[in-house]
Amino acid sequence: MKVNDAVVGAALIVLAAAILVHIQPYPLIPGQQYGPALFPGLIAVGFIATGALLVLRGVRRGRPLFEPGGALRSARLATNFVAICAALVFYIVAAEPLGFLVTGALCLAALFLKFGVRPPAAIAIAVIATLVIHTLFYKLLRVPLPWGVLERFAW
């Protein structure tokens, strides 16, 4: 998706205003004229300047506000994009209760099927790949991946 420079510029100016409001209550370093608000403040000023230039440029070029491209060219590609994000969100929510093995295998199987791997192969590879990654990180590198529902069978 291509966004018009003017939209980005306006968003930057809004962001800058939010920063400037947010940093108001920041204290000063004792005995100095500045404190932790100085740098974010300068960044916000920078955003206002670049944002204004972007708005100017965007208005002058007069392109549409949003142009579909990349992910939005076809429904299949757009859902591919969403599928990857959804898999990550699902992992964040489910990893603790369901455990790494179940969550990981589900994510992989779903993405394989979405990307057109044939069902039997998709499920087999999902299970094997999850087991390999689990062994590598849990056993060899001692990363405490959650067991979740498989807690009783932990090995």
């Binding site: 990550l88 394989f112 990307f115 990363v143």
Partner: protein, 496 residues
């Protein structure tokens, strides 16, 4: 001398050699698969290196990246898709050679001159970094402030055509760096009550998001794109290489030198080095009309340049803690984790480990000859690996890798947010490199600024009172004024 011997002992240990070999195979594979980059290889390796002693951890990254930059040439040559962005500059040239039946020469030139470029770059790194450190030891916060600012400036003006978008990207990076407690006053900024954000966002998950997850997203919206298949058997790639070396020695020297120099500039890495070098080669060539038609000269020069750049990027990274490219941006994080804090004193506190790093660079480049040859032989098989199976597995790797750093799912959220952000930035022509540099150098910039202001009792002129600081300061200001001057000149010319 004892340090050099200690370095040899550190490297030639069965464990380290095994790590180097494994990293080499990994790097060759990642580089040869289009859509997987050398930076992504580094980001994926970090969680693994987390559990290693310093020398094998660094060796792992050095070897994998050197191999990946070379093997990126292979798919470019065979199916006209660059394996990594660093090979994009000469992919048409290499493919044209393949179509004329000279695939062996193109691949051989890629391999041999990558090795030579890498070795020259390493030699420059090994000699210039300690010398630079001798000078840098005397630097105070004033010099560092200007140096960091100059580095950030370079990132904005070198890496892209559109400096305005570069500045926006840089500011976004600086803003992210200001999140958390890590500022001179120790005041929590932009944390919104989150305990996770007190420690800032976490460099490694951010990198995994920006360089690995964003590539997976890009793959997902590209459609199938499996490309053509290459079926012909590849013969002896080393034939005629000696002749080419003798004929094009000047190109090799120029490519390696330019590559190393571009690599050392913050924000510009192997890919930009290759583009600049290819253009340079055409400019200085005796037969510029042959460029683009399957002529090996540009291939030699830019093939040497991108591997030279890889070593060059380590010069500012080791001496000043300012990354020369996106790979060393990640490396700096690893160095801190390993207690090898970058800076001029690293050459006094950890000399053996630093010499070990240089040694690994030489070793990796020499190993590239047999392993690269084997990779070329196996190229057909590697290119057949189905990407619809590979990409989801890499995604799960990213998830586990990010989780492994702090053992929280917060990091998984970080890779998602930064993955999508990097994808959208690239889609809209905002370069990612300035943002990365901003994130890494933001804290340093602020710290040196505040320290300097306190030292000079609030007088801004204090930034120009030491000779080196003044030089760096004036240089930085000139670079900022340059686009303005150019614009004014263009206007005057248009008016005349």
């Amino acid at each position: 001398m004892t340090e050099a011997l200690a370095a040899v002992a550190l490297v030639f240990e069965p464990y380290v050699i095994a790590v180097i070999l494994a990293a080499a195979v990994f790097g060759l594979f990642v580089g040869a698969i289009p859509g997987l980059t050398a930076t992504m290889a580094t980001a994926l390796l970090v969680p693994v290196t987390f559990f290693m002693p310093p020398v094998p951890a660094i060796a792992c990254i050095v070897t994998a990246t050197a191999m990946a930059i070379f093997s990126g040439d292979i798919p470019g040559c065979l199916v006209r898709i660059p394996g990594t962005p660093a090979s994009a500059a000469y992919v048409d040239e290499a493919y044209a050679m393949t179509k004329q039946g000279h695939a062996e020469t193109a691949l051989g030139a890629g391999l041999v001159f990558s090795v030579i470029g890498g070795i020259i770059g390493t030699a420059v790194l090994a000699t210039s970094a300690p010398a630079l450190a001798e000078v840098a030891v005397r630097f105070s916060s004033f010099e560092y402030f200007w140096l960091v600012l100059l580095g950030l400036t370079c990132a904005v003006f070198i890496s892209v055509g559109d400096p305005l978008k570069g500045i926006v990207s840089l500011l976004a990076g600086l803003l992210i760096s200001s999140i958390g407690l890590d500022n001179p006053a120790g005041h929590p900024r932009f944390t919104f009550g989150s305990i996770e954000l007190l420690g800032s966002v976490g460099l490694i998950p951010m990198m995994i998001g920006m360089f690995a997850v964003s590539e997976i997203l890009r793959y997902a919206v590209q459609g199938s794109g499996e490309g053509e298949h290459f079926t012909r058997q590849i013969g002896n790639v080393f034939r005629g290489m000696w002749g080419l070396t003798r004929r094009y020695w000047a190109s090799i020297a120029r490519g390696s030198a330019l590559g190393t120099a571009v690599g050392a500039l913050p924000g510009a890495g192997a890919d930009i080095a290759a583009w600049m070098s290819y253009a340079m080669s055409k400019k200085f060539s005796k037969e510029p009309q042959k460029f683009g038609t399957g002529h090996v000269e540009g291939l030699i020069e830019s093939g040497a340049a991108n591997n030279g750049a890889l070593a060059g990027a380590w010069i500012p990274a080791l001496v000043f803690g300012i990354p020369g490219d996106s790979i060393t941006a990640i490396v700096i994080g690893v160095l801190y984790i390993k207690g090898m804090n970058p800076g001029p004193t690293i050459f006094m506190t950890n000399p053996a480990q630093i010499y070990a790093v240089f040694l690994v660079f030489f070793l990796a480049n020499l190993l590239m000859i047999p392993l690269g040859w084997a990779c070329i032989k196996a190229a057909k098989r590697i290119l057949e690996v189905p990407r619809n199976v590979l990409m989801p597995i890499i995604l799960l790797f990213c998830v586990v890798g990010a989780f492994a750093i702090n053992n929280t799912v917060f990091a998984v959220g970080v890779i998602l947010v930064f993955g999508v952000a990097a994808y959208l930035m690239e889609e809209n022509g905002y370069p990612v490199a300035p943002a990365i540099l901003g994130m890494i150098l933001g804290t340093m910039l602020e710290e040196h600024f505040i320290t300097s202001m306190i030292k000079s009792e609030g007088r801004f002129l204090g930034f120009f009172e030491r000779p080196i600081a003044a030089t760096l300061g004036i240089l930085t200001i000139l670079v900022w004024l340059w686009p303005l001057a150019k614009w004014l000149l263009a206007r005057r010319r248009a008016a005349a």
